[in-house]
Homo-oligomer: 244 residues x 6
C-alpha cells in the first residue's frame, strides 16, 4: 500500500546523498541532499578562540544557517538586504550549534574555533535536519584536516560521537518520517529530533501545529525518529570512510 | 530530606502568584511571579487583522517577549540600543505566540488581533514558562473584556482550553521541577513543556546541555512537567474566578 | 471650587508613592508612582569606567529611559523591534542623565559607573519627571550599597544634593502643577523643571505648544514648579530614611 | 574693557550674515553665518501632506538638522555610515521643527508640506540657534514662492510672526550672548532661547552644566537673549526685503 | 611557452561549464563555473511590476549578487549578520542588473518582473563576470518558461541579444584574459568588460590598481576581452540549445 | 552653430571654479563648482593609521561622498535617517578613494591617514567627477599643511602626480563633454574618466544606458575626456599656486 505522494512508506527516508569535500576552499565541507532539499555545509577551522574564551584551554564550535532567496518555491527577500536576520534563522543556527557541540570535547579541540556554515541551496522540507546531518560530516573533515596539519594531536579524540537529525510528524493521524514540504504544511504535529550515533537524544522539539498531541503520539514519533537517525548515522560513517 | 537550596522537594513548584488586572491601560493583564521571577503580561485587543489575513474571517494572536536590562544579576544592554532583537528573544516570542494560538479558535475570535507583551521585570529562571502561564490569564481577560464591549458575541467560545508551561531538568542525575537560575545553569538536561488544561502537549523542547539524555530520562521529565502544569492550571482557573 | 478632572487644585501634586528596594537584583531600585504613572528605576553599580574616562580618577553616571509597549492607552511598537531608539527616548534619557550628574561629585565616586534604567510600566503624563525623581532614590540606594561593600569610602560625599522634577503647564489660561496625560495634551505651554533639594535649577525646558508665552507666564510656571519639587524632595528624604 | 576673546562685549552678537536664495534648486534657501558657524538652510515645498494628516485641511512643517563630518575641529563619523541618527541630532531637529511651527498657521498653509533641511557646513557654537534663524528665512522664501506659483492664495497669511533663536550662558559668573565653541565648553549654565518677532517665548531650554543656577541668573540670561533675538529679527526682516 | 601558473596562454579562458536547469524551484537557473569559481544563478519570474512602474506597460529586470561566507579562502562574516550589504556587493548587483537590462526589451516583457539571484558558492576570481554570463542563461530560461506558460506571447522578442562578461588585466606588463584570484591580486590594471553577442560594449570598467595605464594598454585589454566574450557567447548559445 | 542648451560646444567644459581653503576647520579644503554643481571637499589629516595597517610604515587615504537632501531638484530622504548608505553612494565613495590613491605614494605619507569628505551641496550632473577634481586640491592642501607642521618631511614627495575627472557621453549620436543633469538623463552612453596630470588613465567607466556602444564611439569619448581633464589639471595647478 502506497501511503505517500512520493511512494515512500511511513518509516522510510527520502533518497539521502552526502558529497564530502565539495568545496576546494574550506577545511571541511559536504553537500547533503534529502530528496530535493540540498544544503551546502562548510567547516572553517581557525586557530584561536573568541575573546571571552581566551585562556580557558577550550575550543569553540558554532553554526550559521541561511537560505538562498530562491531556494523555495517563491522568492524570499535576502536577510542582508532587509538588514536583519529573522527569528527563524537565528533559532535554527542556534539549534545546529548546540547539536554539534553535544558531540565535541572542547578540551580536546584546544583553543581552536570551527564555524559551520549551512546554506540551503534548495528547500523541500527538513532543511534544519539535513543541515545538522551534513554539518557533522563537514566538522569531521575539518578535524581530520587539522590533524593532518598537526594543529591537533593525532590521538586527540575531539568527537565523542556522531550526530544526525530527522523530522517526524503526524499526518492525517499517521506518524511519518522525513517530511517533504508538502507534508510538513499538512502535519498536525511536527517534531525535529537530534540523536547521537549511540542513540541518545540531543534535542527533542515537538510542536502541535493544530490540535495538542497525546503522550502516546509523542512516543510513536520518537520511535520513528530513531529509525531515521540510525540510518543516517550509517550513511555518515560510510561517507567519511571514502577519501575526500 | 531537603534536596534543593530553597528547601523545595524535586516535584515542588516555587511560590506562584498571579495578580490579574495589574494594568489600568491594557484590555487584559497579569503580573505573574514564579519565586523571584516576575513577568508583566499585557494583552492588547484591537479590531482588524494584519493585511495578509484580511477577509479570511479569522483573528490573530501573537506575542512579544523582552527583558528589562537590569532584570538579571548583571545589567544587559538594551536590545533597542543595540538596534536588534537577539535570537533568544525572537525564539521565546515565537514560542509564546504558538503556545497561546494552540488554545485559541481564531474563527470564533473573528477579524480581531490580540498582542501579548511579556516583559520580564525580574529574572530568576523560568521566565519563558512564567510568561506563557501569565499571558494566558491576560489573554482570557482581554477576551472577557471584548465580550463586555460587545465586540465578541457573548457565546463565542474563543478559548478551547487553558495553557500553562513549566521547566524541568536533570540536576546531578535527579529530575527536578521549576528550576531557578542557579539550578538552570547546573542542569545536564533542560526541558520546557507547554501543556493544555486537559493535559495534552503543545510544545516539548528538551536540550542536552551536557551529555545526551536517555529515553527513560525523557519520560521522567515529562511526568514531572505534568505535575507542575496541572497545578498551574488550577491557579489560573482560581485567578480568573476572582473579579479583576 | 474644583478646577481639575481629578479633583486637585492647580498647585497640588497627584498621589506620589515611592517603593524603594523593589528589585532583588539591582544595587539600587525604586518603583515610583505619580498617580497612574508608574516607573521602575534601577541603579546598576559597576567598578570601572568607560574607556574614554579611564585614568581620570572620576566616575560616570548615565541613564536610559524606555516605555513598555502597552504602558500607554494604545499599544506602541517596541523600539527593539523597529531597530532604533526614537528621538523622544534619546532626548529623555539624556535629560535624566544630565539631571542626576548635576548632584553627583564624580571625583568622590572614583572610577565607578552607575547606570540608571527608568522603565515606564504605565504612562499617564509626567513620565520623565517621575523617572528623574525615582532615579535619584535608586542612585542614593546604590551609593549606600557601595559604601556597605567598602567600594566607596564611608565618608565619601558622592551626592552633593538631592534632585527632583515636575511638569507644569498652562491650561485654559491657568498655570497648573503635575499634568496627567489628559491635561498634557490640552496644555498651551508645557514646562519640565528639574530642581535640587536646595531649590536651584538644573534644567528648565519650556515649550509653547500653541501660542508663544509671555515672560509673566513663564514666571508663574516656575513658581508653581518650585512648590512641587519642594514637596517631592521631602518625600525622597522620607523614603530614604526607611530601611530598604 | 574687552571682556571676550573675540573682542565682543557681553551683550554683543557675532557678525551675522544671511544670504538668501543660495540654492538654485530649492523653493527657499538661506546660508546663515553666526561668526564662523555656517548653516545651509533649504525649504522644500511639496503639495500634499503625510498620510496621517490627509483630509484634515491643514499643512505640515518639519525640519532635519545634520552636521557635515568635518564641520568641527576634528572629524566625526557620518551618521549615515554609523547607520543611525544620534540623540543630539534628533533633539535639535525636533527643536527646529517645533520652533517654526509656532509661527505657522497650518490651516492657511492648506494641505501642503514644507521640509526645512539645516546642514551645518562649519560649526563654531550656536549651530542650532543659527539653524532656526536661517530656516525662518528659507521658510518665508518658500511660502513666497508658493504664492507666486498660485499654490497658495495671494492673501493667505501663513506666517503669523517671525522667529529667531540665540544662545546665552554664564561664563566665569558673567552672563554672555551668542557663545562661540570655546565659550560654550566653559559655560557654567547654557541656555537656548527661541523668540518670536513680537518678543514672546517659543522655547526656553536652560541647562546647568556645572553648578545649578539661581532664579536671578535665569532672569539675567533671559534679558540678554531678548536683546539678541530682537536684533536677529531685524536682520531677518531686512534680508527678506532684498530681492532673492 | 607556459605563461601562467595554470598552464594557460595569455588569451585563453579557464574551463567554462554551464549547467542549465540546476534548480527545480526557479523559473530559470544555471550553475556556471569559470575554473574553480562557481556561481548559482536563478531567475524568478513574477507577474506585475514594482509600484513605481505600474501602468507603464513595461517590465523590470533586476539582480542581486552575494557570496557565501566560506566561498573564499578565509571566512567572511555574513552580510545579514552584519546587518548591511557592503559597497562591493551593491556595486556588483547594480552592474549585473544594468548588463542584463541592456539586452532586454522591457516593452516586450510586459508588466512582468524578473529577479536574477547570483550566489557565489565558490570564489576564485571573476565572480562578477561569471555571474553576468550565467545570469543571462537563467534569464533566457525564465523567458522560455513564461512563453510555455502563455504569460508571454510566443513571438514576443524579449531578448534583443545575448550578453557575457570577462575580466582582463595586465600582469608583469602582459595583458591576460580571465584572471583567477592569484593573478587578480597581482594585476597592475584590472578591467571588466561586458559585451553583447554582436560584439558591442555594454560596460567597460578599467581600474589602475598600481600605476595609471596608457591608451595602448587599454586598447590591448579590450582586444583580449572581445576574444573571451566571443567564446562565452558560443557556449551560452550551445547551452541554451540543450534541453533543460 | 550652438549644439547645447547652455550654449557650449561639444568639447567645452562648463564654468569651473575652485575655491581653496573654504573651511577654517579642516587641514585642507576646496569648494568646487562645475556650472551649478557645487561640492565641498575637505581633507582631514590625522596621525596614525587604521589597525589593519599598523606597523607597515605606510599611510592611508580614503574618501566619503554624500549629497545633501535638497541638492537635487526634488528632495531625497537622508541616508542617515533611512539608516543605510545607498549602493550609489558607496560606489562613488570607493571610486574617489581609488582615484586619489593612484597619485599618492603611501610610503612617503608614512603612518598617517587622510580622509576626504566630498559633500554635494548642489547637484546638476557630474558630481562624482567634480568631487574627484576638488578632492585632489583639498588633499594637496592637507599635505602642504602637514609639511608646515613638520609631520611630513619637507622633501617627502607624497603626491606622484595630480588627478582630475570628467564625464562624457553620446547625445543624439554626438559625443559631448561634461554633461549637466539634463544631458546626462538623455545620454545613450555615459562615461566617467579619471586621468592623471600626465595624461594616463586611472579609471574608465563606460555604461550603455540605451543601445550598446561601438569601439569607435568608445575611442571618440576617450579623446574628448582627455581634452577636459587636461584643462582641469591646469585649473588645479593655478588654484594651488594661489595662497590659501
Amino acid at each position: 500500500m502506497t501511503l505517500r505522494a512520493d511512494g515512500r512508506s511511513a518509516a522510510q527516508l527520502r533518497d539521502i546523498t552526502i558529497t564530502r569535500g565539495w568545496s576546494t576552499q574550506a577545511e571541511g565541507s559536504a553537500l547533503i541532499e534529502f530528496g530535493n532539499t540540498r544544503v551546502l555545509c562548510t567547516a572553517s577551522f581557525t586557530q584561536g578562540v573568541p575573546r571571552w574564551l581566551k585562556g580557558e584551554g577550550t575550543g569553540w564550535v558554532t553554526a550559521e544557517y541561511a537560505m538562498l532567496p530562491r531556494a523555495t518555491n517563491t522568492r524570499n527577500s535576502r536577510e542582508a538586504v532587509k538588514g536583519k536576520v529573522s527569528g527563524r534563522t537565528h533559532e535554527i543556527s542556534r539549534l545546529i550549534g548546540r547539536s554539534l557541540r553535544a558531540v565535541v570535547d572542547t578540551k580536546q579541540l584546544g583553543e581552536n574555533t570551527i564555524v559551520l556554515d549551512c546554506d540551503v541551496l534548495q528547500a523541500d522540507g527538513g532543511t534544519r535536519t539535513a543541515a545538522i546531518t551534513g554539518a557533522y560530516v563537514a566538522l569531521a573533515e575539518a578535524i581530520e584536516w587539522a590533524r593532518g596539519e598537526k594543529i591537533l594531536k593525532v590521538n586527540a579524540k575531539v568527537l565523542t560521537d556522531s550526530v544526525a537529525a530527522i523530522s517526524v510528524g503526524i499526518i492525517d493521524g499517521t506518524p511519518m518520517l522525513d517530511l517533504p514540504y508538502e507534508e510538513d504544511v499538512r502535519a498536525e504535529t511536527d517534531m525535529n529530533v537530534v540523536v547521537t550515533g549511540s542513540g541518545d537524544f540531543v534535542e527533542v522539539q515537538g510542536t502541535a501545529e493544530g490540535a495538542p498531541f497525546k503522550r502516546d503520539e509523542l512516543d510513536a514519533l520518537l520511535d520513528l525518529a530513531l529509525i531515521g537517525t540510525t540510518e543516517l548515522a550509517q550513511i555518515q560513517t560510510e561517507t567519511l570512510k571514502k577519501s575526500k
